[in-house]
């Protein structure tokens, strides 16, 4: 493809751009913004493969990485301008991702320790509530049961726990449907296929 050797960004607020060709280490390349043209220049400090992202400015640790005008993840280390931004230094912070959804009921809280499958989630023990309707619960109150292992600091949400408390206001029928679906599916898979379930 006849694309120029530039770093392309879609929105003014983006702090990463995409390399439209392979970029060589130590060379300077123009930063091209859609609708505006060349808006700057970046010295690339590592070789950048085509379509990979390059930091356009210094991104501190635990800061948002913004592409398309929206945060696509959070940096896990300091990123200098001109460095490749990829899975080594940016992760999807699902806590952040679903922060807005906490309010809406998607995310219930955070795991304080690693929670095994089938383990009980108790406030303060292994679970920190984030959902408004769970906030006032006294310590050690049972919140639900994990249906999949949840990593330490991982997100607890509908989908990885069952037997939720009623305070959540979940539709009771929906809750039962989800629980039974897991049960039947797991039983069926175990019995009729050679798929290893858990």
């Amino acid at each position: 493809m006849g694309l120029p050797a530039v770093i392309y960004k879609l929105r003014p607020e983006d702090n990463v751009g995409t390399a439209l060709s392979n970029l060589a280490e130590g060379e300077k390349y123009p930063v091209f913004e859609e609708g505006k043209g060349v808006v700057g220049e970046i010295e690339v400090v590592t070789p950048v493969p085509k379509w990979y992202k390059v930091a356009l400015e210094r991104i501190g640790e635990d800061e948002e990485v913004i592409k398309f005008g929206y945060p696509i993840g959070v940096s896990v280390m300091e990123i200098e301008p001109g460095v490749v931004v990829h899975i080594t230094n940016v992760v999807l912070d699902s806590k952040y991702e679903f922060k807005e959804l906490v309010r809406r009921g998607f995310v219930l809280g955070e795991a304080l320790t690693r929670i095994g499958k089938g383990e009980l989630l108790r406030v303060g023990r292994n679970f920190r509530p984030l959902h408004p309707s769970l906030k006032g619960l006294p310590p050690r109150v049972r919140v639900g049961v994990a249906v999949a292992p949840i990593a330490e600091g991982g997100v607890v949400r509908l989908g990885n726990i069952v037997d939720l408390r009623r305070e959540l206001g979940w539709n009771e029928r929906y809750r039962r449907l989800v629980r039974d679906f897991y049960r039947f599916l797991r039983a069926g898979l175990a019995e009729f296929s050679r798929v290893q379930v858990g």
Binding site: M1, F68, I72, R157
Partner: protein, 429 residues
């Protein structure tokens, strides 16, 4: 003709405009696919309309029998939606007699209209004002003893189709405003150019279409997971926000129930190799096709194959990420035309609606010219400083109107693509 008007076929009885004037042969169950095809064979090369864009279409599908639970309703809704599609002049239903959506056979001597009301598909089509005929294979055999019922069913079917074709040929296009149309958008066979150029470019066209009164529908629920922040920014009313939340939860739970965890499965190793780092980045690249203008909000969240309201707005229809099933849902919802972005190239089409394929990948366009309708010349971005919006409105928007007005066939129609697959949820009984 006005700048934002389309020349289309007007159907008085139903008060809708269609961009095509097809005659449809629809088996109500998969067992009679071949019978429907035999009826169709006589009309294989029949074409009408200024560019020869209209024809007799047979939809062969894998549904209509042994559906369990709400899957039956979804199948019914999809078949009804396609049969009463604005682009269809009239429909011949081919049924077997014992399927879930079939007409029960009459016993000899019984009144012909006796159980017609129980044949829901036909009944609803007639109530909607659709020109509909039916052929029942088992019944032909019962009514005429000692003759070949199959041969008779085929003969009868052909007679009905001949009648429909005659009527369809006499209809002429008239001018219609953009607000009477529904446009579906989708993407598949993606590569990095899809997320960077093609989908954002389509987004500008969607903004423009909605601004000029058209309804736009998008689907592919599994491909928006991760881009919640973006989606909810486009939702104002609490009712729609609740529906959207519920839909995204269900999709996540369904995936997790199958022991597939989003954070682990996406992005795939292939995505990572082409520079995508997180699920959100991947989903954003796909979801940007629904527009950039924050003034355009998602008017409603619809179930699969549900009718999309005409008269403007942006709608989200539940549907799988898989191209054919997603397109089938949007078409059954009444989408007159589908605009589909691709990076690697795909031949996908749909029986009753044209599918316009768009790419921003020059080498794909050059190698697969017979599949791709529109190439967005992104080199103009860097050459003469055109913006993505200008490119999209200069190349893509006129191409959509051209195909809708029947001045040109889409590549999917030229190829005779009749891809049709109704979403299934689980095992059949």
């Amino acid at each position: 003709m006005g700048e934002h008007a389309v020349r289309a076929y007007y159907r008085d009885k139903r008060k809708v405009y269609g961009v095509r004037n097809h005659v449809l042969i629809l088996p109500t169950t998969l067992c009679v696919n071949r019978v429907a095809e035999m009826i169709w064979e006589e009309f294989r090369d029949e074409r009408w309309g200024d560019a020869g864009e209209n024809r007799v279409i047979v939809i062969k599908h894998a549904s209509g029998c042994c559906h369990v639970g709400f899957e039956r309703d979804v199948t019914f809704r999809t078949l009804l939606g396609v049969a009463s599609h604005p682009n269809v002049y009239g429909v011949l239903l081919v049924s077997l007699g014992c399927g879930q959506l079939c007409k029960r056979p009459l016993s000899p001597g019984e009144d012909k209209r006796a159980n017609l009301e129980a044949f829901k598909l036909y009944d609803r089509l007639v109530k909607r004002g659709v020109k509909a005929y039916w052929v029942n294979v088992q019944e032909r055999a019962l009514l005429r003893e000692y003759t070949d019922g199959l041969e008779q069913a085929v003969e009868l079917g052909r007679k009905f189709v001949r009648r429909l074709v005659e009527g369809a040929r006499s209809l002429k296009r008239v001018e219609a405003p953009l607000s009477r149309f529904v446009i579906g958008v989708g993407n598949g066979a993606s590569d990095p150019t899809s997320g960077l150029f093609a989908n954002p470019a389509l987004g500008y066209v969607v903004d423009y279409l909605v601004k000029h009164g058209a309804s736009v529908v998008f689907s592919q629920t599994t491909e928006v997971l991760g881009a919640e922040k973006y989606l909810f920014r486009k939702v104002r009313s609490g009712r729609v926000a609740n529906k959207l939340k519920r839909l995204l939860e269900t999709a996540t739970v369904l995936k997790e129930a199958l022991l597939e965890y989003l954070e682990e499965s996406d992005p795939t190793p292939g995505n990572i190799a082409s520079g995508i780092s997180t699920l959100t980045e991947k989903s954003l690249g796909s979801v940007l096709k629904i527009g950039h203008d924050s003034g355009v909000e998602i008017s409603d969240v619809l179930p699969y194959a549900h009718k999309v309201p005409r008269g403007g707005g942006l709608y989200f229809m539940d549907g799988p990420g898989e191209d054919v099933q997603a397109i089938t849902g949007m078409v059954a919802g009444g989408a007159h035309v589908i605009v589909f972005t691709t990076g690697l190239g795909t031949p996908v089409g749909s029986p009753v609606s044209p599918v316009i394929k768009v790419t921003a990948n020059k080498s794909t366009y050059e190698r697969l010219k017979s599949l791709i309708d529109v190439y967005l010349p992104i080199e103009e971005l860097f050459g003469n400083g055109a913006s993505l919006r200008e490119i999209a409105l200069k190349y893509l928007y006129p191409a959509i109107l051209e195909v809708m007005s029947g001045d040109k066939l889409s590549r999917s129609e030229e190829l005779g693509q009749v891809d049709f697959d109704i979403r299934g949820y689980w095992l059949r009984a």
